[in-house]
Amino acid sequence: MMIIEESRAEVTLPPAIGAPRILVVDDNTDNLLLLETILRGHQFVVETATNGLEALAAVEQNPPSLVLLDVMMPGLDGYEVARRLKANPDLPFVPIILVTAKNDLSDKIHGLEQGADDFLSKPVNTGELLARVRALLRLKGAQDDLQQKHVELSEVNQQLKQSEVLREELVHMITHDLRGPLTGLVGALELMEDHTLGPLTAGQEQFVRLALNNCTTLSNMIGDLLEVYRLESGRSELECEPVNMGALVEQAVSQVAGAAVERRLELRNNIGQDLPLVLADRGKLTRVLSNLLGNAVKYTDSGSITLSAEPWNGRLTPQARGVCPPAARSILVKIVDTGPGIPDDAREHLFEKFFRVRGQQGSKQVVGTGLGLNFCKQVVEAHGGCIWVESGPDGSGSAFHFTLPLYDTE
């Protein structure tokens, strides 16, 4: 039986390299030949199969761009071939057009449910055949692009994950390998400092003390690095207890008092012992305060550093917008310096890892890991608090603010 309704005689050109390959499956060789002729006439590469098993083998061996599949075949019918092809997860997307004399709606529905993508009714109209084939090839093109992008993205993602693992290993290695030798170094210097190894000259004593100071700086840097990664990976646990900020602040102030005197800065602590308690990790919060105070001392050339704290009044200033809103019952701690201040464009990045304020005229390079403020942010946020900085025009100093939720006695 002729299945072709209308066909134009055309000069057959050889298909272009990379032209779509179409697998035509039909048990009737006359039908095969006709479909093949039309498709070849439009520069498609055509392969044929005369039964379901042969079709499955052909697709699995070298997936074509599209399958034209006769429904009524002895053995595996077109529905079953479509079902098996779509059920194979190893195959790429291969559009299937069922070619059928069955025109019942229920047959079409059944075919689509088995995984076919479209239908052609016999007798096949050449124009419709080509239009449907091309439409599905466009869909396949888009699908293949998407798949390719997906593969590329997965690869990039995998590389990113790998470099993240490497970075973590590096941090782990650095912190571990530095902390060991540092412990012995500090121990040895202390043996000299406390004269266990005999009296020192004034000069020796001065150098031993300076060396110990550098050890403390190193130790703090390593501590920041380690703690930032622990906090980020959720492996750090806060050991919280009700804390009186007044007592804690005194400890942090004493850590920077020497440096403040050396730089002729006035260090004013206006935080009293009568503040409501907060629930906090004493060690980490002390480091937050000493980091903030240490920064203030490092970056301020003259003037003062003032510490104050008060119950939070529930209002956020414009520069604090964008931070998470603090809990209603919070304490607000402020550290205000008379240093150069923070430029507007730097303010929003200030708490990011490894961020350094740079390019300021006349500003000097100050040593640090670029992790101190990120550490502060992570610790404060782990406590359920917020941290931000306010700074006016150049030269008016910076005011670091952070909040901590109050310890509820109920």
Binding site: G180, P181, L191
Partner: protein, 140 residues
């Protein structure tokens, strides 16, 4: 050993110190001997286990690092806690391995105190005093 000889008469409790960092081992040895402790220092876990296997000498406290060449501190702790004649010995760990790390569950219940490096010698001395005092029949 560079700083082995201490003038102090050593009548105090016996301590086994296991630390592969030479500088830290010498610093702590000197500090502990100066406090009157009888000290044996080992550069790694294998030396320490040899000492423990030797008849006639047993420490009253073990201070150990964790990551060491040849035999590490984890192995020493396993051996000590698994040996009936040694399992009563308190162990202080001094290590730069994080005390919340993934290998820590293995040490649970086997370690009296965990000190993370960097640690000051004074903290180690205090830890030793407290741990010895907390033993059944300890001082104070």
């Amino acid at each position: 050993m560079i700083l082995n000889e201490s003038a102090a008469t050593q009548q105090g409790p016996r301590i086994l110190l296991i630390e592969d960092d030479t500088l830290l081992r010498e610093v702590l040895s000197l500090r502990l001997r100066a406090e009157g402790y009888q000290l044996e220092a080992a550069a790694n876990g294998r030396v320490a286990l040899d000492l423990l296997d030797k008849q006639g000498w047993q420490p009253e406290l073990i201070i150990t690092d964790l990551l060491m060449p040849e035999v590490d501190g984890f192995t020493v702790i396993e051996r000590v806690s698994g040996t009936p004649s040694l399992s009563h010995l308190p162990i202080i760990v001094i290590s730069s391995v994080s005390k919340i790390g993934e290998r820590m569950p293995a040490l649970k219940g086997k370690v009296a105190l965990y000190l993370e490096k960097p640690v000051k010698a004074a903290e180690v001395l205090e830890a030793v005093t407290c741990t010895l005092a907390a033993r059944p029949g300890g001082r104070e």
